[in-house]
Amino acid sequence: MPLILVSCISGGTQSARGWPGTTVHDGIIYAGSTDGRVVAINSSTENLEWSYSMAPVTAPSSGLSCGQTSAPTAIYGTPLVDRDIVYIGTYSGQVLALNMLARSQNLTFPQQRYGEWNWDCPIDNAKSNAIVADLLLSEDAIYVSSSNGRVYSLDKEFGDLNWESKILDEKHRKLWTSPVIQGNTLYVSTYDGHIYALSLEMGELLDWYFESEAGFASSPVIDEDTIFLGSFDRYLYAVKIGSDLPMWKFPEEKQAGNWFWASPIVNEGIVYAGCLDGRVHAIEAKTGGKLWEFDAGSAIVSSPVLMDNLLIVTDESGTVYVFDLSAELEDEAAPLKTISIGADVRSSFCAQEGLVYIRGEDNWIYVVDIDRGTVSWKVSLTIEE
């Protein structure tokens, strides 16, 4: 009997709350919220422009509760804006395209296909087909990684299916990392330790693939002809496209203290990578040699962001670190500024014109002024009943 009781207390259910990221476009902040909404906030007036609520997800109960349970649709990705449309993938397996003009003009919503429209493309409503990774936009298509192990290409205008790939990860099925495009090829990393190359046009597998003993934890990033990505074996990999062997693995000697969960970024031949052990590394892209590092003390879950000559990093405890890349940074680098927002951070964030836009785990958006080194303003994403 005690086993049953403990089963109820300590994690019989494993809920997905989501950690949606933020993006800024034409003075509007777009973000997902943990109560299943996509929200647009005017960054000048700090007012809500519009919000779109997704239908809650109903699922058979797990654990000892009876009947069905209803929960807000979780969002893990960052909204993407292209022209007047906001695109986002949901944990309920849908891709939404929201017409932001329609919202601001109070037109009937949603409408389908023509006129002021939106669409939502139900790849599948089942949890097993959840979308966790960011969507990828090209000129005329959207690429979606799904938890059923496939990548989908959807028509950007109407959401029609262009193609679906074969199942890339038979073992785990979960494709929780975003694909990346170079030329006419789509590169996808998997939890079973592969990097696959797919034709952008038809989605078929190309000849080259890379295989590693451990699975890849982060989405791949491409610079020139090299793919950079983090692995569950606690190394950051650099893989030259076409090669069977990694160009380098970082750290060179002993593995890092945890996974490189967040995607690294590459700028002017330097890779900046945050690790769940709390360290930020600057690595020479060609050689894998360490340039400098910084210990934040708390896990780095979000990818770093560049703004002019500044590298901006947030750690899970909600501290924002600003590094001046034009300065001579030594082996153990010191940040130019350290700003605390007072809330945990797991989401992707963005930076523009001296301001950093971060969604905290408390479901508030914090706007950090880098020059002043303070939180300029903040807004709650939770609708008060």
């Binding site: 049953i4 089963s7 994690g11 019989g12 997905a16 709350r17 073992k171 451990a214 699975g215």
Partner: protein, 251 residues
């Protein structure tokens, strides 16, 4: 307090479970079975004590039944006489409970580890990162393959198969140790308990992740096997009381 629990018991069990999964060709279902066996082996001295206590109580059943008949109308006297009997035989009627209680932390850790290791949501996977050791064998096994036979170990069994196995094995295990009562009311309660627990666990199997139900099933099967060999047979599973043909010796 919770962190101490994870540091001492939770995380070691979790990492061993994941390492076992890697050693067993990435089959997490096999890892659950293997760890259940290992935990059973480690706790064998306690299990043996528990089974010996159970067997001693079984052996005393003819005398207990005789006392129950003799003092049917006088419950207080019956209790006194039974306590006297236990004392003379050197048996503590609660002796079979203590070893079981000592094992609970291990069972709880095993349950939590199964749930954590499967990391069915992104939050769980991120949480798992902070609980893993830097062993290569662990890192190469992550994330785990949650599919085993027809089961998704992170989800309840969609069929009744596992529920029937869990319920059935639990009934057998209970039936092996449950002595028939002479008192009709007690007998009715015993019969109900014999059915209720297996039914309840069978029902829970339909609601909890099948990884946990797999652990229950394996644990029950090991329990039946050890009980068979330690107590020297099927106990009360055989029709009627094993003591019914034994002449009852009065005091």
């Amino acid at each position: 307090m919770i962190e101490v629990w994870h540091l001492i018991i939770g995380n070691p069990v979790l990492n061993v479970l994941i390492a076992l999964s890697h050693l067993l060709s990435g089959e997490f279902g096999l890892a659950i079975i293997a760890l259940t066996i290992i935990v059973r082996l480690i706790s064998w001295p306690l299990t043996k004590r528990q089974l010996n206590s159970t067997k001693a109580l079984q052996d005393m059943q003819p005398k207990i039944q005789e006392l129950q008949k003799k003092y049917d109308k006088n419950k207080q006297k019956l209790q006194q006489e039974m306590m006297k009997l236990y004392k003379e035989a050197g048996v503590n009627p609660l002796g079979c409970l203590w070893p079981m209680l000592v094992q609970f932390p291990i069972w709880i850790a095993l349950y939590q580890s199964i749930m954590r290791a499967l990391a069915t949501t992104p939050e769980n996977l991120l949480d798992l990162a902070h609980r893993l050791y830097s062993w290569d064998i662990v890192n190469q096994a992550i994330p785990l393959n949650s599919h085993f036979l027809w089961l998704d170990l992170g989800q309840p069994d969609p069929y009744l198969i596992l529920a029937i196995i869990v319920g059935g094995t639990m009934w057998v295990q209970q039936k092996m140790t449950q002595a028939p009562a002479v008192d009709p009311r007690q007998a009715s309660t015993s019969r109900m308990m014999l059915l209720m627990m297996p039914l309840m666990f069978g029902f829970l199997t339909l609601m909890f992740p099948s990884g946990l139900a797999l652990y229950w099933a394996v644990s029950n099967i090991i329990g039946i096997i050890t009980q068979y060999f330690v107590t020297g047979g099927w106990g009360y599973l055989k029709l009627g009381s094993p003591f019914s043909s034994t002449p009852v010796k009065g005091k």
